[in-house]
Each structure stands twice: as structure tokens, then as C-alpha cells.
């Protein structure tokens, strides 16, 4: 009885993913072609064109976000796990958890006030920063958790060899937790890849290639949003295709992470 109930609930987790994937493939697959991947959007009302600028824009934004979020997040996590006193790490952990629960549009507003208004315009920098802010607490928490999984006996062994603490942290503890941390970073990237709200008024959107990072930049989520509420059937078609690309990227990252972490976790426990 209980097992049947659990099975039903488990099914309810898998079912939406299956349905979404199925629907996206049905609606979008036919529109994913070479032109979609390599061409700029056509002027409104004209059929054809693609989302090349949005795909590249999304990659740039994720790259900028990682540039900000990964170093701060990893170093912060190292500090929490290896150096901080109990009370300090409790407060930072608490703050990180609250930040993790903050609606992402709040980050968009923060960056709008901090960067977009002084710079008098949306830019890739601003979008990357907003996504970076979202990544920081995610990466801090996973880094800390992965480091906490490293048994203390390794730290003791390193210190008993007369290895200075910072070297033990960098070359032994971090290395031991390496795969777990990379996994966390990749998952954080895939999480921010789909964020739309923080980009609305930071990176804004762009129908063309941006010439540099201080210009408004197209991104997949934003393009999907614009096209799906637009009046043209061709836009709707392309929005489906964009959504399919986005979810495939997220899926690919997740599968990559599984492959990467296969066989590594038992080593930590041994």
C-alpha cells in the first residue's frame, strides 16, 4: 500500500519531465535547423532567421557569471569549511541559504540599481553580474558540503607530514573534493542558464550581435520570452525551438555531471 503510494509520487516527479521533454521535442524539434543555430533574428514579421545571437549571448552571460560566482563561491566555501569558527560559519551558511531562496528578480533589481543606472544602459556585464550573484550562494554551499565530506583523517595526515595548512587545503583537501565541487559549479551554471527574470532589465535583449560586453545582449531565456508573447506564428515556432535548446543544454550538463562523478563518491567514504 505504502509502496504503491510512493511509486505514484515518484511517477509524478518523472512524469512532468517526460511530458515537457516530449512536448518541446514535438513543437520545437522541427524548427531546430542550421539557420536557427547560425542566423540572426529576421525583422519582425519576416519568416526565417535564427537565435544565434541569443545562444552566444547566453554562453557569454554564463561565462561572466561563472567568472564572478565560481572564485568567490569556492573560496567562500573553503573558508567556511576549513577556517571559520563555528559561529561565523553558522551565520554565513544561514545568509547563503536565505540568498538561495531570494527570488531571482530581486537580483535583477539590485544590479539595475548598482550597475545599469550608473552606466546608463543594460549590458552583458550587468546581466553576468546578476547571474553571478545567484551563483555565489549556490557554489558556496556545495563547496562547503563537499569539503565537509572529506574525512578529517586526510587533513590530519597532511598536517602530520609537516605540510603547511594552506598547502594541505589546496593540494589535498580541495583535490579530494574536486569532482564534487566541479559538479556543484556545473549545476549552478545550468541553473542560471535558465534564469529569465534577472536578465530582463540587466542584459536586456538585442536583435543583433552585441559588439562588446557593455552593450545590451541577447539571451535564450529572454528571446524565448519575447517570441512566445509575440504576435507571429513563426516567432512561436522559434520560441519552442529555443526552449528545446535550453532544456537540452541543461540536460547535457546534468548527464555530464553524472558521468563525471561516477565512481568517485565511494572513494570519499572508503
Amino acid at each position: 500500500m505504502v509502496s504503491a503510494l510512493c511509486f505514484a509520487c515518484a511517477l509524478m516527479v518523472i512524469l512532468p519531465l517526460a511530458l515537457v521533454l516530449f512536448h518541446l521535442v514535438r513543437m520545437g524539434a522541427s524548427s531546430v535547423d542550421w539557420a536557427f543555430l547560425t542566423q540572426l533574428p529576421k525583422p519582425a514579421g519576416e519568416a526565417g532567421g535564427g537565435m544565434a545571437n541569443a545562444i552566444v549571448g547566453s554562453l557569454i552571460l554564463i561565462g561572466l557569471a561563472a567568472l564572478i560566482g565560481v572564485p568567490i563561491g569556492v573560496l567562500g566555501g573553503v573558508y567556511l569549511s576549513e577556517y571559520a569558527s563555528d559561529r561565523l560559519s553558522w551565520s554565513v551558511r544561514f545568509a547563503a541559504d536565505i540568498l538561495n531562496g531570494t527570488p531571482s528578480i530581486v537580483w535583477g533589481m539590485v544590479v539595475y540599481a548598482l550597475v545599469v543606472m550608473p552606466m546608463k544602459g543594460a549590458s552583458a556585464y550587468a546581466g553576468g553580474l546578476a547571474l553571478g550573484f545567484i551563483m555565489i550562494p549556490l557554489v558556496i554551499r556545495t563547496t562547503e558540503e563537499m569539503l565537509n565530506l572529506v574525512p578529517n583523517t586526510y587533513r590530519e595526515a597532511a598536517l602530520a607530514l609537516g605540510i603547511p595548512k594552506w598547502k594541505s587545503v589546496v593540494f589535498i583537501v580541495l583535490k579530494t573534493a574536486g569532482k564534487g565541487i566541479i559538479t556543484g559549479v556545473l549545476l549552478a551554471c545550468s541553473r542560471v542558464a535558465g534564469e529569465t527574470a534577472p536578465l530582463l532589465f540587466t542584459a536586456s535583449g538585442n536583435q543583433f550581435w552585441s559588439r562588446n560586453l557593455s552593450e545590451p545582449t541577447a539571451s535564450l531565456p529572454r528571446q524565448i520570452y519575447d517570441y512566445s508573447i509575440g504576435p507571429y506564428d513563426d516567432w512561436h515556432r522559434q520560441a519552442w525551438a529555443g526552449a528545446l535548446i535550453l532544456i537540452l543544454v541543461a540536460l547535457a550538463i546534468n548527464v555530464g555531471v553524472r558521468i563525471l562523478t561516477r565512481g568517485s563518491s565511494p572513494r570519499l567514504v572508503k
Binding site: A157, L159, A160, G162, F171, T176, K270
Partner: protein, 280 residues
């Protein structure tokens, strides 16, 4: 955690790991460690009470006693591992060949380079090969010369009686070794930085009898070159491998003597009860 940087780095003697293999200076007659009035607290809880003990050079000293008697705590104060435990406090005086290990200007990292340690559970670094595990202490202490590293690798694996078993797979994963081999790898790792003393915290307690016998054989071999202090809860082991035995009970040193004497003719009633198996 204790902030280690508050201690200035001591200029001399140079850490043994960095030079060419040093000639082992003839140990000064008498003692390796001289422990006087050692008291250790963890926060408000006092674990060791006024322990005074001298540990002779090039001999095996066994520390025995029931669980919780402070024997591991004693061992860890000999290489300043307590500096890492938040809330730990050490009082008293410990000298190593006459040098005060807890003096203000002493860098605990350098103490640990002179006093090697092997732990209860074998703990080779899981991301490294067999060879890297052995030389990691040298590498992270700044030794880059390849020929020296190779030489030390073979030398220490031979000392740890592991060379013949692993020489054809030095770059295999360290965790591919058996439990007993892993523990000998950890001994090799500790020996590679050329410590003057080797501390062993129940090194065979997680091993089967055959692997245990190998470790004990190794201890008897290493005794010729090193001062060894071994914590064990196995009294047969203490009597097999040690020259001197110290019996700890409830955080106090009850009795220390030549192993033979302590086991056959203990002076203290508690020691007698313990070694005859009446409690513990």
C-alpha cells in the same frame, strides 16, 4: 582552529626534509622526549593530569591503557596535533632532544616534520597514486629534484617493507592496495620526510592478524633507526614489540618500566589488574 602564523618560523635547525639524507646524529644519551607535568584540556574537560615521562631513543615505547585513558591525547601532544583542535589547551613542558616543542617561537609545522605520525585507520590520500602518496610530504615541502624524489621513493618503500609488493605498479591508485599494504604505505609516507621520531596511534587495530604481524615486524626493524612511540590497546602487541611500556589510567600515568618488568612484575596494583586482564 589555532592560528599558526602567530609563531615565527624558526631559522634552524633546517627541516630534515629539505636537505640531503642527513646522517643520523648519534642520539644524545638518555632521552628523546622529556615530558614534564603535561596537562591537556579539551575546553573545560581535563584529559591528562600531570604526566611526566621520558622516552628513550632508538627504542619502542608502548602506551597502554583502557579506552579514554588519554593515551592518544598524550601521543598527539608529542607532535602538537592538538594545535588543530578548537578548545584544546596544553600545559607543561615537552622537549625533543632538549628543545622545547611548545616554546613561543617554535613553528608547529616544523615540529611535525621532525615527529612523524601514523594513524589508527590507514589514510592514504585517495586522489593520489602509490608513488605520489609517498613523496607528497617532500613535494609539498618544496623538494622538486626528480632524482632525489625517486631515490627517496624507493628507499622509504623498502624501509616500509612494501617495495617488492608495489614496485611494478607505483602509479596505480593508492586505494587499490589491501588494508595492511595501505597502512605500510602510510608508514612509508611518514618516513619519507625523514622524521626523527615515529608516533603510531594503534597502527594495527584495523588489520587482520597476518597484516598485523607484518606491521609488528616492521616496527622491530624501524626501531634500529628511529625512536618509536606506539599507542596500543593490545597488550600482547605491546609485549611483543616494545622495549618500554607506560600504563595510563584515567588521564594519569600510573606506571612506566621496561616492558618485561611491567608485564611480569608490575609495581602498581592497577597496572597488575590491567595487564592480567582483570579490567579494561
Amino acid at each position: 582552529m589555532t592560528n599558526e602564523s602567530q609563531f615565527s618560523v624558526k631559522a634552524e635547525p633546517p627541516p630534515p626534509a629539505l636537505g640531503p639524507p642527513p646522517k643520523r646524529a648519534p642520539a644524545p644519551p638518555g632521552v628523546t622526549f622529556d615530558v614534564q607535568g603535561l596537562k591537556v584540556w579539551f575546553a573545560a574537560h581535563q584529559v591528562l593530569f600531570d604526566v611526566s615521562l621520558q622516552i628513550p631513543p632508538k627504542a619502542v615505547t608502548a602506551i597502554i591503557g583502557p579506552s579514554g585513558c588519554g593515551k592518544s591525547t598524550f601521543l598527539r601532544s608529542l607532535n602538537r596535533m592538538h594545535d588543530l583542535a578548537p578548545g584544546a589547551r596544553v600545559e607543561g613542558r615537552i622537549t625533543l632532544f632538549g628543545e622545547d616543542l611548545y616554546a613561543r617561537q617554535v613553528d608547529p609545522t616544523l615540529v611535525r616534520r621532525r615527529v612523524g605520525m601514523v594513524f589508527q585507520k590507514s589514510n592514504p590520500f585517495p586522489t593520489m597514486s602509490i608513488a605520489d602518496n609517498v613523496i607528497v610530504g617532500l613535494k609539498l615541502n618544496g623538494v622538486r629534484q626528480k632524482s632525489l624524489l625517486r631515490e627517496r621513493l624507493e628507499q622509504t618503500l623498502r624501509m616500509a617493507a612494501l617495495w617488492d609488493e608495489v614496485k611494478d605498479r607505483l602509479h596505480a591508485h593508492a586505494l587499490s592496495l589491501s588494508g595492511g599494504q595501505q597502512q605500510r604505505l602510510c608508514i612509508a609516507r611518514a618516513l619519507a620526510i625523514e622524521p626523527e621520531v615515529l608516533l603510531m596511534d594503534e597502527p594495527a587495530s584495523a588489520l587482520d592478524p597476518l597484516a598485523t604481524a607484518k606491521i609488528e615486524e616492521l616496527i622491530l626493524e624501524l626501531r634500529k633507526q628511529f625512536t618509536i612511540v606506539i599507542v596500543t590497546h593490545n597488550m600482547q602487541q605491546a609485549s611483543r614489540v616494545s622495549d618500554f611500556t607506560a600504563f595510563f589510567y584515567l588521564g594519569r600515568l600510573v606506571e612506566v618500566d621496561q616492558t618485561k618488568k611491567l608485564f611480569t612484575n608490575p609495581k602498581d596494583k592497577q597496572t597488575e589488574d590491567y595487564v592480567t586482564g582483570r579490567f579494561g
